[in-house]
């Protein structure tokens, strides 16, 4: 069943797109991630133009994160003040990211930059996650207790000005690194169409020592805020958000998420993290392979404003 997409300006198979949406929803329900890091590449691999894939991916992340954020909000597991400070940084980062995106697109290096960014970020995050989860799995098998997290030197974080109290998370930290984290993730979100939960969650846990119960909910709230701004900016400056494609993907992902969540209950945390790590590394590898193998077609055409 073919459907014509008005912004992407091509016909796609509706069932394939619902399937992609469902697969993303399944993964996000199973692993507790937004799934943007999988969605944007999948759309690009199926022939959707890169800018449409990124803009529409951002819209899809808004849907999936709002659904999950609501659940955490009901459980009172969102530090709204912390999320708010992150979003402030995120909105500026998003604006910078969309501006950089447009410069790269005009210069013809957008696809290269996106590929390299995916390889670097997904490679690092996936590798670290795989190491950590495999170590935990091995230790559990041997019956050894998991060692406590190493205490990092946080004197620099303590010394920075504008120390602020985040009551919900029972934290006293400077808002500078919080805004900086939000800014960096905002740039990534705008460039890659990802929510950035795979960076925010570890940062909140290991860097800021946010209580585990608050981490996911707060990260989701930050993703929701930042990706709303990103969708808005891509739609207004690039006109690259395809509402029809977004709708199909959202419907698929809402359904897929339910199955993923059911599966998640039956799997251990470290097994889930290992699965996510393998998935992340697979996407990074695919981008790397495309970068280093001689392309079958060296030429590409792009229409430009005369």
């Amino acid at each position: 069943m073919q459907l014509y997409l008005p912004i992407a300006e091509l016909s796609v198979n509706v069932l394939l797109m619902i399937g992609i949406g469902a697969a993303i929803g399944f993964v996000s329900g199973l692993l507790g991630v937004g799934g943007g890091f999988l969605l944007t590449p999948l759309l690009i691999f199926t022939g959707i133009p890169t800018s449409v894939a990124v803009g529409t991916g951002a819209a899809q992340v808004v849907a999936s994160s709002s659904s999950a954020a609501m659940t955490y909000w009901r459980r009172k597991q969102v530090d709204l003040k912390l999320a708010g400070v992150l979003v402030v940084g995120g909105i500026f980062g998003s604006a910078a990211g969309v501006a950089l995106f447009n410069v790269l697109e005009a210069s013809g290096h957008l696809d290269l930059f996106i590929s390299v960014a995916y390889v670097v970020f997904l490679g690092i995050v996936g590798g670290l996650m795989l190491l950590e989860s495999v170590r935990t799995i091995v230790r559990t098998r041997r019956g050894q207790p998991t060692p406590l997290r190493p205490i990092r030197d946080r004197t620099l974080l303590r010394r920075l000005p504008w120390q602020t109290r985040f009551r919900r998370s029972q934290l006293n930290i400077s808002i500078i690194p919080v805004v900086a984290l939000g800014f960096g993730v905002g740039i990534l979100g705008a460039l890659l169409g990802v929510g950035g939960g795979f960076i925010v969650v570890p940062a909140l846990i290991y860097l800021f020592r946010v209580p585990t119960g608050m981490v996911i909910g707060t990260s989701l709230a930050q993703i929701l805020g930042t990706m709303t701004a990103t969708t808005l900016l891509h739609a207004v400056t690039n006109h690259s958000v395809d509402a029809i494609l977004a709708l199909i993907l959202m419907v698929g992902s809402v359904i897929g998420a339910q199955f993923g969540a059911r599966w998640a209950v039956q799997l251990r945390g470290e097994t889930l993290r290992a699965l996510l790590a393998v998935l992340v590394l697979a996407v990074a590898t695919r981008f790397l392979v495309d970068l280093v193998t001689p392309p079958t077609e060296r030429y590409s055409i792009e229409e430009v404003e005369a």
Binding site: I7, E9, V292, E305
Partner: protein
Amino acid sequence: MRRALGLSLALALAAPAASAETLVVALSADEIRIASTFTGTTITVFGAVEDAVAASGYDIAVVLEGPRKAIVVRRKDPVVGLWINRAETTFTTAPEFYAAHSTAPLPDIAAREALGALGLGVEHMTLGPTLAAGPAATGFRQAVIRLRGEAGHYVEEAGAVDWIGDGLFRTTFTLPADVPVGAYTVRTLLFRDGALEAESTLGLPISKTGAEQFVFDAAHDNAWLYALAVILMAASIGWLGGIVFRRD
């Protein structure tokens, strides 16, 4: 999508001086509208040679041409192991779609120079000026023709125009699912013994219809409203999903 032939019988009576023949050309539809279920279509061009001065020796070429847009063509080269866009050139007026149908192979219909002057055939059509020169420019031009040829957007078919008797001819163009939208022209050329005797040009708008056009226009003309609508849609679908499948 297609209207009756009679409705769109547009006459085009343009003939170079000193020749007696005239061309009458009509299309099987006077516009093409792309709806959500669009998977490609065909358009048939009918025509007649009137006031023929000779019994035989006529050839017909019909060119369906899409709107012309500037394009940047880029070539990947290996840089320290990575394949990166290194060289690029711009063609200012490349047609988004170009299909040339004819009764015989174009080189048999007219001389090379004549085809070049008329911009007739994929090899001879103009893509507009480019900054690159020499062999590099040729490589980029060939790449455009190859890429758009593979997509079914640049087509040349000899023998695709049929004589159906008594000076009447017909040809059918196939438009793929991703045919670019815009103002198309159907250019019909009548040759006799290698010389252009008559020419006719008809317009053929190809546009998105209904919902597709509405979404496209909204995204471009009311970008802020469109963005807010998409975000509202995303949030409410997420919210609904959370309500329907609530687990706690």
